[in-house]
Amino acid sequence: MKRNVILISLLCLAMFGCNKKSDEIKIGVYGPFSGGSAPMGVSMRNGAKLAVAEINAAGGVLGGKKLALIDRDDEAKNERGGQIMQELLEKENVIAVLGPANTGVANASTQYTNQKKIPQIINIAAGAKVNEFFAEGVDNYIFRIAASDDIQSKVIVGQALKRGAKKPALLCDDTNYGQNGREKMEKVLAAAGVKPVYIGKFKIKDTDMTAQLQEAKAAGADVILAYGIGPELAAVSNSMDRISWKVPMIGSWTLSMSNYTTNAGKNGNGTMMPQTFIESVATSPKQQAFLKAYLDQYKESPISSAVSAAQGYDSVYLLKLAIEQAQSTEGPKLKAALEDLSTPYEGLTGTYTKPFSSTDHEAIKEENVLLGMVQDGKIISSDK
């Protein structure tokens, strides 16, 4: 009997504790915080944390409520993405979700946010389904602030053709992400009437790309269009050096990740990629303040994935604007607010006036995208 009383009082205390926390607004954030994609996930989380800290320091939202990030590591594994999403939605009761970085993870988890009618802003995964949900006729709660594969392939192919390439070779990893990119690049090339002379693929953790490159070389390729993540793309550059073949390489935005630039070393020089944020040309006061805060907080310069950090930061602010406009944290109201944001937002990756609409959930358009180039381990801006 006595034990029951203690238990019940403990339970009450626990519930009281929970109740007390209710002036916190929980936002889920998930991404790869370990493994080959970790620079993206960790930088994104850092960016989001900075934004949340700023907002809370300025008094929070909805009359003093604080934002709280609930972060989970999806290890870039598709099935982990689904599990985490269910946990965030059912157990943590988050009001919105930010992330993830990997296309496969996103596609394995976005169904849950849609079902639960909780808005999700994808802030890295470029190939994840976003506007595609409209065509499927579902009530679409998925938004994105990242250059989608469609836009990236347009920029990549456009730049290659502009620079006089006639015989592109495509080299992509065999994940959802790489193959999605390959398909989109092929489409853009076909629209321009160009046929790739070679299409190759590689596996995650492959370190010798000699065979693929030789085949591309034998086919007379004059540019490599690559889609993958840091370590393997670095292996492509290193293998090119090995067979002493030098043609330009243009590829997915992930070529700006630190695990590309450090692992490729001097072989990475000249590689180009679409970017939404480049540290060396981030000159606006807001961008400068962000870079300084990031350096103070995380002691990292250059940021291991500056694009992810900036997009993570901006995604939090877009959500904050939506919460204030909706004066609520209910999913459908937030979605309506996001689709019709009345306040323009000057972010790190661009200035957004009505970034989303009820038929377009992509914030980044082709004109927002910059062209980055690797130069001695740093990303500099190149003419588009």
Binding site: K205, T207, P231, T262, N263
Partner: protein
């Protein structure tokens, strides 16, 4: 022509790495009749230990220690790991007279090593610098890294050295004797258990050295040994688990077939011919190309 030559050389070097690890499998199989399935993870342990001792993780540059430090460190870690695997996974299983417990036990040790490194060190990929520099040397159009030449020399030296040791010295003959017939060797006054422990320590040190050697060519990460371990295992089977020089041939077959397939058929199928060959070998020469025929007296 240079293209084919480049592919064959790349493949052969890759094959040498497989061979070196496979040689480690053979060493313990010959004495204990078990296979240490955690060997791939010990390869990784060697790579990671070498990286920690040789490279400053923050800057990715040399930490300033001479290469002899990581070399010795890796040898010690390897020997320790071998002793631990034997004491914790293999010896107890053999004591139970269980035929197969050691398979699960060594696999389990491998998983523990991998998860341990992920927890205590990092899950990222890092670039190890070669002590011989990272520039490509050119021989008439064929690009080779100095590190790769080192791999070939060290692998051959280790395999020949250990074989000589086994055939020419009294201690080596003790190992031979244990592998021929444990009971008789024991009766002849050879400390059978000790010999087996030593063979595990040697095998694991060789695997760890293989990890240190491949690190500058692959990236260093907690998962770097998994695939190497599996491929080296099939090289062992192709070459013959009881054979000393068999793994060298097996390694060359697997390595060269991989690069040639990747280039002339498809990169997606690059592992296929090697494994098809493995199945053929198992079907027609179950003891491997160079394996001794075992006559089991009943």
């Amino acid at each position: 022509m240079t293209e084919v030559l480049q592919l064959i050389i790349s493949g052969a070097i890759q094959g040498m790495i497989y061979a070196l690890i496979a040689f480690g499998y053979n060493l313990t199989f010959s004495t204990s009749k078990t296979i240490n399935f955690s060997l791939g993870q010990i390869v990784m342990l060697g790579g990671v230990t070498g990286y920690i001792l040789y490279i400053d993780m923050q800057s990715g540059q040399l930490s300033g220690l001479p290469f002899i430090v990581p070399l010795i460190g890796v040898l010690i870690i390897g020997a320790l790991a071998g002793a631990v695997v034997h004491k914790t996974a293999v010896e107890p299983s053999l004591k139970f007279k269980s035929e197969y417990t050691w398979i699960l036990a060594t696999l389990a040790v491998g998983i523990i090593i991998k998860n341990g490194v992920e927890q205590l060190w990092s899950t990222g990929d890092f670039r190890m610098l070669s002590p011989l520099g990272d520039n490509v040397l050119r021989f008439g159009g064929v690009g080779v890294y100095a590190q790769e030449i080192l791999i070939v020399i060290v692998s051959l030296a280790i395999v020949c050295g250990v074989e000589m040791f086994k055939r020419r010295t009294i201690y080596g003959k003790a190992i031979q004797a244990v592998s021929e017939d444990k009971a008789t060797a024991s009766l002849m006054g050879i400390p059978e258990k000790f010999v087996i422990t030593i063979s595990f320590m040697m095998s694991a040190s060789i695997a760890a050295i293989a990890g240190l050697l491949v690190a500058p060519l692959t990236f260093v990460s907690a998962s770097m040994g998994t695939v190497l371990g599996i491929k080296a295992y099939s090289v062992s089977i192709i070459g013959g688990l009881e054979s000393g020089f068999g793994p060298l041939v097996g390694g060359l077959i697997l390595g060269i077939s991989e690069t040639l397939t990747a280039r002339y058929i498809s990169t997606g199928y690059k592992e296929m011919p090697g494994f098809i060959f493995l199945i053929i070998v198992i079907l027609f020469k179950p003891n491997g190309l160079f394996g001794k025929k075992i006559i089991k007296k009943v």
